[in-house]
Structures are given as structure tokens and as C-alpha cells.
């Protein structure tokens, strides 16, 4: 039997077999060196069996299985029927005990391969809780359960991925989340037929194929996930993924920060308006600059116009290519800054930001105002930590830049029209993306771009409306 197991695992070196000979019985312990904890094996498996050896009794082969079952101190012990099951258990970190080549027992000896709970690195909060999700499914679920100690927090788990067998958990609060939403999410997730699912991003991509706007939100903060659950949303925990997916997501959600609920309303309102302004600046500023310099210089003050003309005449490129060069240079800088190890990071920013920018201006290749425009626009985009909205901003920035180059301010209007059309025609799992503006929900407008008063309960009236009826 053990030879068969070894063969099917390709005689991998990390599969260890320890054979113990009792007087008339043979016990084989099989485990994966990498997935199991050796101390757990020593304590829960080998120590109890070694007691049998010390006693040195004759034990009938029929009774030995019950004896060993009673002796083992592990928390979960199962009796397995087939070799297939045994192999599956080995790779889950269990230790398999084969007694006399006949009976198979499995005992849990998982080793912890995860990092501990660290503080969140992307969605940083000043005053709020610091913990973040890890790559472990159970830890992640535990972090949510820690916040919602309620028997109504239901978790349905599915295994997805034909090759990777990734565990996926769909969490919702029974009694708050709408049944049709849960049904819809389940249907869509079951349909996913990928071979491998390594991260939550795979599922996000499958769920929001149709439009460019992000329909699924990802968070690494357990507190935000719990908030979402209490609102009536559904959370999806993917094993080995440090982010939890939140469904459905509205446009307004991208303007909310983790800190919003931990500080005074007036401060929250200020930061939210600031973020919305940053969103508009990030998208429209380069396009507006282009349209001003090439079609409609009317709206800028006279002195500024003269300043622009003076700066513009020295530069050998047309304004459009100038701004394109700068934006692409900045994108490269940003990308290299993300990928580069921390120790070299500061030198990149010095080289790219200070030296290149300054040298380009003094060499007369780029006008200083152009660097200001691109810098303001790019910094405004950095306000957003969600990668999907950063991509959205980037896409629209280029679109509006081209339209502004071709049609001036009228091109900006067209770009604005396309943005609104895109938002208006998007739905997130059947819910309008523009909540709470359309459909207009009076109570929730006070917690949208502004925050005047906190909601009495965290329930989202849109998501829970039909259920209450």
C-alpha cells in the first residue's frame, strides 16, 4: 500500500515514510515533510505509538486499530477508506497511519506556513484597527468572526479550480443579505471554470468582464469586510489570497476610506470632497491643459497665458507629445517604484523625480508647467489605493487627453459624456452602480460624497429593500 502511495506521488523526496515494527504488527506513518509539523508528529503520533513499543505486548491485529485510535492524542482522527483519500490528506498536511497494510488512519499535523497577522500595507488607517487579512482561509474567516460574533454569519464554501483546488468561502449575514443576491453570486461563482485560482484577482476578473469600471471591490482590512457584511453585501474569501472580495460594489465606495468611520463627520466630509476633486483633477487636468494650449485659451488669465506661451515656445515638441512623454515617464517611474526592493526605492525617486525632472526642464525639452500639470494629475491619482480605480483613472486620462487634443474643450465634454455613459450603464450584480444618487435614497445621500450623520444601523436600504417587503 505504501509503495502505491509513493508511486502516485512520484517518489517525491518530501514524502516521508516511517515504519514501526511492533511485535506482530507493522505501522507505517506517511506524511509530507513540508506541509506537516514535525513536532506535531512527534507529539501526537510517534510518542503514543512508542508507548506501545515499551509495553512490548502481543496485540491481536484486529484490536490494534482501536487501541491506536484511543492512544493518539491528535485533535481530529479519521478512518479512511481509499488510497485516493489518503493521498489527498497527505497534501492537506495530515499524517497517514497504515496499520498492517490494511487500515488507514489520518491525524491532523498541519504545519503553519502562513505569516502572522500583519498591519495593512495598502489601505492604511491612522486611527482604526491595524490588522489585515493573511493568506490563510481560516485566519481570514476568524478575523471577520472576531468582529461579528453572531450565529447569523453564514459561510458557504466551494472548491474551485480544476487543478489548484482552491477553497473559496462565500460569507453573508443571514437576515440582512438579500437571498436573490446570494443566489446570483453563487450561480456566477459556480460557473467559473478556471484551471487555477491563485488569488482573488482571478475571480474579480471573471465576475466583472463586461465593463471597465470595477464591479467588485477588494479589501485587505477585516473591519471594512465586516462593515460590508453588515450592510447586506456578500464577502468572498479566497484561500491564499490576502484580500477579500466585496459584492456588490458601487461607484461611491471607491471614495470611502477606512478612516471614515473612526473620525468626526466634518473631517470625513472634507476628505471625501477632496478625494472626489482629486478624481476629477486626475482625469481631466492633462486634457484641459491640452485643450487650453491648442484650442481654447480663453478661460485662462492673461498673465498666465503669456507665461504659458513663453514656456511653450522653447519646447521642441507639440504640447500633446510633451504631455504624453511626461505621463508615460511617470507611469514607468511608478511601476518601477512598486516592483523595486525597498532599499533601492529612494534612489529611484531621487533619480526619476528630482534629477530627470530638473534636467529635462533645464535642457529645454519639457516646459516646467507641463511637469506641474502631470505631477498634480498623478499625485491626485495616488489618493486612491484600490488598484482598479487607479487603472480606471489612467484609462480615462488617456482618453480625455486624446479627445482634448483633437477637439479642445468640446472634446472634454465628450470625454465627460463617455464617463457618465459608462457609469450609467454599469450594474453591479443587478444593482445600479450610481447608488445612492440614482435611485435617489435620501438617507444614504448623507453618507455619500458628504457625511453629515452616521446611519442609525449599517444596513443598506437598497440592498435590503426587497427582503423587507
Amino acid at each position: 500500500m505504501k509503495e502505491e502511495i509513493l508511486n502516485r506521488c512520484g517518489n517525491s523526496t518530501d514524502i516521508i515514510i516511517r515504519t514501526i515494527n511492533l511485535k506482530n504488527n507493522v505501522i507505517d506513518c506517511i506524511y509530507s515533510e513540508t506541509l506537516s509539523s514535525s513536532s506535531a508528529i512527534t507529539n501526537y503520533v510517534l510518542k503514543p505509538i512508542s508507548e506501545l513499543i515499551i509495553e512490548n505486548k502481543n496485540i491481536a491485529s484486529t484490536t490494534i486499530i482501536n487501541l491506536i485510535k484511543n492512544l493518539l492524542t491528535g485533535s481530529s482522527i479519521n478512518e479512511l477508506k481509499s488510497i485516493d483519500e489518503a493521498i489527498k490528506n497527505i497534501f492537506l498536511g495530515y499524517t497517514i497511519i497504515i496499520i498492517n497494510n490494511k487500515n488507514i488512519l489520518s491525524i491532523e499535523t498541519k504545519a503553519s506556513l502562513d505569516r502572522g497577522i500583519n498591519s495593512s500595507s495598502i489601505e492604511v488607517s491612522i486611527t482604526g484597527p491595524k490588522d489585515s487579512f493573511t493568506e490563510n482561509f481560516n485566519t481570514n474567516l476568524g478575523l471577520i468572526r472576531k468582529r461579528i460574533r453572531n450565529n447569523n454569519l453564514f459561510v458557504k464554501s466551494i472548491t474551485l479550480g480544476n487543478e489548484s483546488h482552491t477553497k473559496i468561502g462565500i460569507c453573508y449575514i443571514n437576515g440582512i443579505a438579500e437571498k436573490s443576491l446570494i443566489k446570483k453570486v453563487m450561480e456566477k461563482i459556480i460557473k467559473i471554470n478556471n484551471d487555477i485560482i491563485i488569488d482573488g484577482g482571478y475571480i474579480t476578473e471573471e465576475l466583472s468582464k463586461s465593463t471597465f469600471l470595477p464591479q467588485v471591490n477588494q479589501t485587505e482590512r477585516p473591519d471594512l469586510a465586516s462593515f460590508a457584511l453588515l450592510e447586506g453585501k456578500v464577502c468572498i474569501i479566497v484561500d491564499n489570497s490576502p484580500t477579500v472580495l466585496i459584492i456588490p460594489t458601487f461607484f461611491i465606495d471607491f471614495f470611502h476610506t477606512p478612516d471614515d468611520y473612526y473620525q468626526k463627520n466634518i473631517n470625513t466630509t472634507f476628505t471625501r470632497i477632496l478625494r472626489f476633486l482629486a478624481f476629477l483633477i486626475a482625469i481631466f487636468l492633462p486634457g484641459y491643459y491640452i485643450s487650453v494650449t491648442s484650442f481654447n485659451p480663453t478661460a485662462i488669465p492673461t498673465n498666465l497665458l503669456l507665461n504659458l506661451i513663453e514656456q511653450h515656445t522653447i519646447v521642441p515638441f507639440p504640447a500633446f507629445f510633451e504631455i504624453l512623454i511626461m505621463i508615460i515617464a511617470f507611469e514607468i517611474l511608478r511601476e518601477s517604484d512598486i516592483r523595486i526592493p525597498n532599499k533601492v526605492g529612494s534612489s529611484v525617486s531621487i533619480l526619476g523625480g528630482l534629477i530627470l525632472g530638473d534636467a529635462a526642464v533645464s535642457a529645454g525639452i519639457i516646459s516646467p508647467i507641463m511637469i506641474i500639470v502631470v505631477a498634480i494629475s498623478s499625485i491626485s491619482a495616488l489618493v486612491f489605493s484600490y488598484n482598479s480605480i487607479v487603472n480606471l483613472i489612467r484609462y480615462y486620462r488617456y482618453l480625455i487627453l486624446i479627445l482634448g487634443m483633437l477637439l479642445g474643450i468640446y472634446g472634454l465634454f465628450i470625454g465627460f459624456g463617455i464617463l457618465v455613459i459608462n457609469i450609467a450603464s454599469t450594474t453591479s450584480f443587478g444593482f445600479p452602480y450610481t447608488y445612492p444618487f440614482v435611485p435617489f435614497i435620501k438617507t444614504d445621500i448623507l453618507d455619500s460624497f458628504i457625511k453629515v450623520k452616521s446611519r442609525q444601523n449599517k444596513r443598506n436600504p437598497l440592498l435590503t429593500k426587497n427582503r423587507n417587503r
Binding site: 480663453t298 478661460a299 477637439l407 468640446y410 459624456g417 455613459i421 444618487f437 440614482v438 435611485p439 429593500k465
Partner: protein, 339 residues
């Protein structure tokens, strides 16, 4: 919450945009060479007449508006053709007027066909997404529209000179209330494309429709008198676009001047919503007869675009006939509901 359901506020805002579709382009031209009393009288008469027709519109709402237009089969096809003429006529004139304004204010050196084509394609993009998307877009844009409207009014308040609104006891002249009525109410008939069953609370919707109808006429009176009081009736008559002339005066804190190029976005928004709705309406009518999907937009766009090229005047007699035909054709569909 189903995606396809409409709340009454959404319908109300859509009605506001439809009423507003020709205000800043054609209607405002009608009040040249007139006086305050005539303006008020014209709009009031148009309001009274419009109110009667609003009642008809509310009654005309049905679940299968386009599928079964009339009980008489021969009439059915005729009505369809008339409705198509009406909606295409509205799209053509919306496109023409907007492109003229954009050309005059923003792109003086650009050929007008480029402006028309880009705007037509943008409206088609919205129209393809369906009537619900148009409604949501109208609602989002209404927020922008409202903010810019507040800016326009508040920063122009200091320029108001009430003497321009005098004299009061003069002869009433140039009262073309029927034209105003046609220009405001006729496009509203396009709202009937929304099936009655998909409106969440129809009684509330009725109420909201009337509220927005009244609000619109108040808004129109205020707007026109506001412009006259700033420019004076004679200057109002000699400039091409009085509304833009008012925007030119705006001066925020002595620094933000010459803002008309940005504030003109309101006219852009008004026309975008109406044009995409008219295109969608035309498509639905054609679709009711032939089972063609979104590809029909290419045909509609070609018809609209080439008709616009042929036209060169802002408003003419035939346009009012088209609007009248559109209203009559719509009223003809009423018989079916009665029986």
C-alpha cells in the same frame, strides 16, 4: 431592486430634460423683439396648453405603447411612420442647434460636420445602452447641470438691472405661444416609451411629472426674464445667443473671467440627453416592425447626419409641422386604451 424599474424622480428629471430640449437653442430666439409682459403671457399660455397635454401624456402611458398602436390595422402603420418622422425631426434639429452653438463658441475653425458626427456618435453610444441607462445618465447629469445653473445665476445676480424689464403697460406683441408649446411639450411624448408596468409607483410618478412640469415653466420664465434684465431687450435681440452672452459677463472674484467655454456644458448636457432619447425612440419604433437589433442605429445615424448637412437654418416652418404631426400621432394611440 430590479435594474429595469424606474422611480418617479427619475421620470420627473427625464421629463424636465425633454421639456428643456429646445429652450436654450430655439425657444430663446422666439423672445427677441418682444417685451416682458409678452414673455410672461406667452409662457403662461403655453403652460396652460401644455398642462392639458401633460394630462393626455399621463393617460397615454401603457405597457405596450409601440407594439399595438391602434386598433385599426391600417392606421397602425401610418402612426408608426408619423412617430418616426417626429422623432427623427427632433433628433435632426437638436443636433443642428447644438453643433451651431459649439461651432460659434468653442471651435470656430473646425468644420461643423466633425462636431455633428462626434456628437451623434456620443449620443448613439448612450442610446445603445437602452432607455434605463439614458435615465440614469440624465439623473447624474442633472446634478452637474444644477451645480452649473446655480453658478450661472448666483454670479450674475449683480448684473441684473430691473429697469430693463420695463415698460409694463405696453402693447402685447409677438405672442407665439403655440410655438413655445410645441417646442416644450412635443418632445415629452417620447417619455411614453417607458412601459407603465416598469414604473414603481405610477400615481407618485404622475404627481412628480406635474411638479417637474410646473418647475420647468417657472424656470423658463425666470431664465428668460433674467437674461432680458441683464442684457436689455434690444441687445437681447441683436445677439445670436443671448444665453451665452450672459455667461460671458460672469466674473468670479475678479479672477475667473471668460468662463463661457466651460459653463456651456449645460447646453451640451441638455442636448445629449434629448438626442440619445430621440435616437433610442426611433430605434424602438423601427424595431417594433422589423426584428433588427442595435445595428439599426447605423441607419438612423446616417439619416440624421445627412439630413443635418442639408439644413442650414436654425428653425423653420416645417419643424413646427413635424412637431404637430408628432403630437397628433401620439394622441391617435389613445383610442386603443379607451376601448
Amino acid at each position: 431592486m430590479n435594474k429595469e424599474k424606474y422611480t418617479s424622480l427619475e421620470i420627473g428629471i427625464l421629463i424636465f430634460f425633454l421639456l428643456n430640449s429646445f429652450t436654450s437653442t430655439i425657444t430663446i430666439q422666439l423672445f427677441k423683439n418682444t417685451n416682458t409682459i409678452s414673455v410672461i403671457l406667452t409662457i403662461l399660455l403655453a403652460f396652460v396648453l401644455g398642462l392639458i397635454f401633460m394630462k393626455i401624456i399621463v393617460k397615454l402611458f401603457s405597457d405596450d405603447y409601440l407594439k399595438n398602436l391602434s386598433n385599426i390595422k391600417i392606421l397602425n402603420n401610418i402612426i408608426k411612420i408619423l412617430l418616426l418622422i417626429g422623432s427623427l425631426g427632433i433628433s435632426i434639429y437638436v443636433l443642428l442647434n447644438l453643433s451651431l452653438i459649439i461651432k460659434n463658441v468653442l471651435l470656430t475653425n473646425m468644420s461643423i460636420q466633425v462636431i455633428q458626427l462626434t456628437f451623434l456618435i456620443l449620443s448613439t453610444l448612450l442610446a445603445i445602452k437602452g432607455i434605463k441607462s439614458i435615465t440614469i445618465a440624465a439623473n447624474i447629469m442633472f446634478i452637474v447641470y444644477f451645480i452649473f445653473l446655480i453658478i450661472n445665476f448666483s454670479f450674475n445676480l449683480l448684473n441684473v438691472n430691473p429697469i430693463n424689464l420695463l415698460p409694463i403697460n405696453t402693447s402685447i406683441e409677438n405672442v407665439n405661444f403655440f410655438q413655445v408649446f410645441l417646442l416644450t411639450v412635443a418632445p415629452v411624448f417620447m417619455i411614453l416609451i417607458i412601459p407603465k408596468k416598469e414604473i414603481i409607483d405610477f400615481n407618485d410618478c404622475k404627481k412628480k411629472s406635474y411638479i417637474f412640469f410646473v418647475l420647468f415653466y417657472i424656470y423658463m420664465i425666470i431664465k428668460i426674464l433674467f437674461i432680458i434684465s441683464i442684457l436689455g431687450d434690444k441687445y437681447y435681440s441683436i445677439v445670436a445667443y443671448p444665453e451665452i452672452e450672459v455667461l460671458k459677463i460672469i466674473n468670479i472674484f475678479n479672477f475667473f473671467e471668460r468662463l463661457e467655454e466651460i459653463l456651456i456644458i449645460n447646453i451640451f448636457i441638455e442636448n445629449l440627453i434629448v438626442l440619445s432619447l430621440a435616437l433610442n425612440y426611433s430605434k424602438e419604433i423601427i424595431k417594433a416592425n422589423f426584428n433588427i437589433d442595435n445595428k439599426i442605429y447605423i441607419l438612423i445615424d446616417i439619416i440624421v447626419f445627412f439630413s443635418v448637412i442639408k439644413l442650414d437654418i436654425i428653425t423653420n416652418f416645417y419643424f413646427y409641422i413635424i412637431l404637430t404631426i408628432f403630437i397628433i400621432a401620439n394622441i391617435l394611440t389613445y383610442k386603443k386604451n379607451k376601448s
